[in-house]
Amino acid sequence: MDSPAARAIASPVPRGAPRAAGASARARRPVDAVMAEARAASFTKRSIKGEMKKSGLLRAISMLDLTTLEGRDSEEKVRALCRKAAQPDPTLALPDGRPIPSVAAVCVYPTLVAVARAALAGSSVRVASVASGFPSGQYPLDVRLRDVEEAVAAGADEIDMVISRGAFLAGRLEAVAEEIRAVRRACGPAHLKIILETGELETLDNVRRASDLAIEAASSVPGLPPPGDGDVFIKTSTGKVQPAATMPVTLVMLEAIRDHFSASGVRIGMKPAGGIRTAKSALHYMVMVKETLGDEWLSPHLFRFGASTLLNDLLRQIRWAWTGRYAAASDLSEG
């Protein structure tokens, strides 16, 4: 309990205490699954051709959080991933001279942050770390906050936290809000991505409610200014629970972001993670962002894909789009 952030919230909110300011924004905004799913499916009917496809594939790489979150992750594997993150395909030169961008960030466990930090020195690729008791969040809050603080101290630029789904599903929304505020405080200068683990929330109503709750909590931390554009993301999944990111879930979260922008003028970021494995699927997500929030959100500053195998499919499709030839599996490095 040494962490200052943990001390700040050491005393639980007594029952019957007046609710925190802004709780009115937590009014339930219902989601109707039938039409939400129909709308999400409509983005997969968009035809992405020609220059839109080419620039979309390159842009998808620039918005990627290249991720490895395995128990068997080694320092060597993280170093290889970092090199690939900075230079996704050094052997490929596009005929029109366009450079292949670096990915946005490498996402690892806290113990590997320092390795990634050193491997990425001199590059624009950021280091993201899962923290706060990833993936379940089933740890005492002070342990989770120390997890965050150590990841930041080791050089993480971005923290991907998990919320307590147990508390959320039990209706203890204020407890969830408090833990989000505490984590954001513990992040210091690091950006915060709040993982809702939508696969465990199950209904779109819950997804919307958790999105509103997370955005509102991260925007109302006592003693901190409200977040600026892209300082806070909401993220679908840890990748450890099925289903991970789906288009209807992501749509509902984008709608929460849009409503927050309409009310406050602040641009919250979005990160679907897990289950996006193909370039085609990534482009469909990007169309959804384009039509729900606008092209402005299609930037690493405001949108990320959390994925590991997606990068190789993007590179494969880039080769195809520019040269008309597919790469063999052996042409692409693993990861």
Binding site: P30, V31, M35, L58, K290, D295
Partner: protein
């Protein structure tokens, strides 16, 4: 009620386009984090990293590239009538041109059936009737099943023809019209040998068909309406004379090819193309046992008068002015999708369109803001582009009608909202989707069917007022109710005078669901068990 300016800068898409969102009004803390000082000392910098490239990707807009459907099925320069299983020219040799409303180019010169041709078609249907009616029901089912399969096999060709002839987006022809048309034949194939459970005939056996059916269909869903009419009639053992709309005859004639391919007995289905005179000859023909008409209320009235003289059976599916009712407790983003699907689907050329939006006053500004935002991503233009959401208006005459209503709306004092940014092509018949606020129930655009992409927005305060406003229309075809409360939805459905009521959805169709109207929207049902009854002798 709000005005356009109220919401313009609240939209992320709009703000992005102008680069001046609300965020510029507030101070933000600096977020510069990646300075070289952040790097661990001694770490060797990586080369070939491309931050400049990343920045370029991040700032550029990401626009749709043209995505035209490339398949162009051949269209004969001259198309003929389909009578007695054969293609025949009109007796007096008359023809009319059918054009592509997106380019105004002539696609084909189509035979214009006169009274003599209608007479020949009715006679062919009469001759084919006894054998078709007595055919074993399972055998009839096989024909219907084969039609459905063949429609699926030729789906792409039919979808393209529907789009070039009628102007609807290829996305809709491909994903709605053609699959649903096939579905209607599949569904009714299953009914052929079970009709005694719908309307038991003598001794509980199979019921008798009505006889020769004259069917007149509109231009908004040419192939789908042909399927709606033909499938139940054929399943019940009737023979048919179908008159497609003047501006959209091509898919019905392609369906005739399919009927030949699957060897449907000659005369069971006859297709006579032409204009209003052709239709009149058919509905007034003395040897037709039943008329089924889908189209305008004005024409429906004349047909009803003609049929009243000799007591022939008649079903009418006419105009509508559907009320889409949005309560404050509804899922608003999904309601907005329903509003879009309700009025801008098929350019608003939908008899059951949700052309009146009734929104609870407390959320009116919110809903209108969301609607304007959503409209900014609607794409108007070339119907053959796979990303087009709103295609061409079906004909020059219909475009003129829509413009008359737009003028009337503004003249009578309503406020037009036109936030869709798509440029409209110079050639062809196009109009941008729009909606009006400040609409009074007495305004022309709130009372009359426009049959175009024009929505009239009004407000209400209580469920009772919503019901009263929704029912204050001579029409009664469709309605939509958007609420998160099940009991409220059922209570409204009990009081709304509409043949089809959608709850938390709109413009969804299924062959098993009966479709039809109240009041001046017609009578009789199509689809489901109710739809079969009108093709059977009880």
């Amino acid at each position: 009620m709000t005005t356009k300016a109220d919401h313009a800068d609240r939209s992320p898409i709009g703000a992005a386009g102008r680069g001046a969102g609300p965020s510029q009004r507030r101070a933000r803390p600096s977020r510069a984090r990646h300075t070289s000082g952040d790097r661990p000392p001694g770490a060797a910098p990586l080369t070939a990293d491309a931050p400049a490239a990343a920045a370029a990707h991040a700032t550029a807009s990401w626009d749709f590239a043209p995505a035209p459907e490339s398949f162009r099925p051949a269209i004969a320069p001259r198309c003929d009538l389909f009578i007695g299983g054969r293609s025949v020219a009109a007796r007096d040799g008359r023809r009319f041109a059918t054009i592509n409303p997106a380019t105004e180019e002539t696609l084909s010169e189509v035979a214009e059936g006169g009274a003599a041709d209608v007479d020949a078609a009715v006679a062919a249907a009469r001759r084919a009737l006894p054998r078709w009616a007595r055919l074993k029901p399972v055998e009839r089912a096989k024909y219907l099943f084969r039609i459905a399969r063949r429609i699926q096999e030729r789906a792409r060709e039919l979808a393209v023809l529907e789009t070039v002839d009628g102007g609807k987006p290829i996305k809709e022809s491909r994903d709605v019209d053609v699959p649903l048309a096939a579905q209607h034949f599949f569904y009714h194939a299953g009914w052929c040998d079970k009709l005694r459970f719908v309307a038991p005939g003598r001794g509980g056996g199979d019921p008798e068909p009505v006889g020769v059916c004259g069917q007149v269909i509109p231009w908004n869903f040419p192939l789908l309406m042909a399927a709606w009419k033909l499938a139940p009639a054929l399943a019940c053992g009737n023979t048919c004379v179908l008159k497609p709309a003047e501006t959209t005859p091509l898919t019905a004639l392609r369906l005739a090819e399919i009927l030949e391919e699957i060897e449907l007995p000659p005369g069971v289905v006859n297709i006579v193309t032409g204009g209003p005179e052709t239709g009149r000859a058919l509905v007034e023909h003395p040897d037709v046992d039943k008329i089924a008409f889908t189209g305008s209320t004005e024409v429906g009235r004349r047909i009803a008068a003609a049929c009243a003289r000799d007591g022939r059976r008649l079903t009418l599916e006419l105009g509508g002015k559907g009320a889409n009712i949005v309560f404050a407790d509804a899922a608003l983003d999904q309601a907005v999708e329903g509003i879009v699907a309700g009025i801008w689907f098929n350019q608003g050329h939908v008899c059951c369109a949700g052309s009146r939006l009734l929104v609870e006053e407390s959320i009116a500004a919110d809903v209108i803001g969301r609607l304007e935002h959503r409209m900014r991503s609607l794409r108007v233009g070339d119907p053959m582009d796979k990303n087009t959401d709103v295609g061409a208006i079906n004909s020059k005459a219909q475009l003129a009608t829509i413009h008359r209503y737009l003028d009337a709306g503004e003249r009578e004092g309503a406020v037009r909202h036109d936030p869709c940014p798509s440029a409209v092509p110079e050639r062809g018949f196009f109009v941008r989707p729009c909606f009006f606020t400040g609409v009074q129930p007495s305004h022309t655009i709130a009372r009359e069917e426009i049959f175009g992409p024009v929505l009239a927005v009004m407000t209400f305060r209580t469920p009772e007022e919503a019901i009263a406003r929704a029912n204050a229309s001579p029409y009664g075809l469709s309605a939509g109710v958007w609420t998160d409360k099940g009991a409220k939805a059922f209570e409204l459905a009990r009081h709304l005078e509409a043949g089809v009521i959608w709850c938390n959805s709109f413009n969804r169709f299924d062959p098993a669901a009966p479709f039809g109207g109240y009041k001046e929207s017609g009578f009789g049902r199509e689809g489901g068990v109710a739809g079969l009854r009108s093709y059977l002798r009880a």
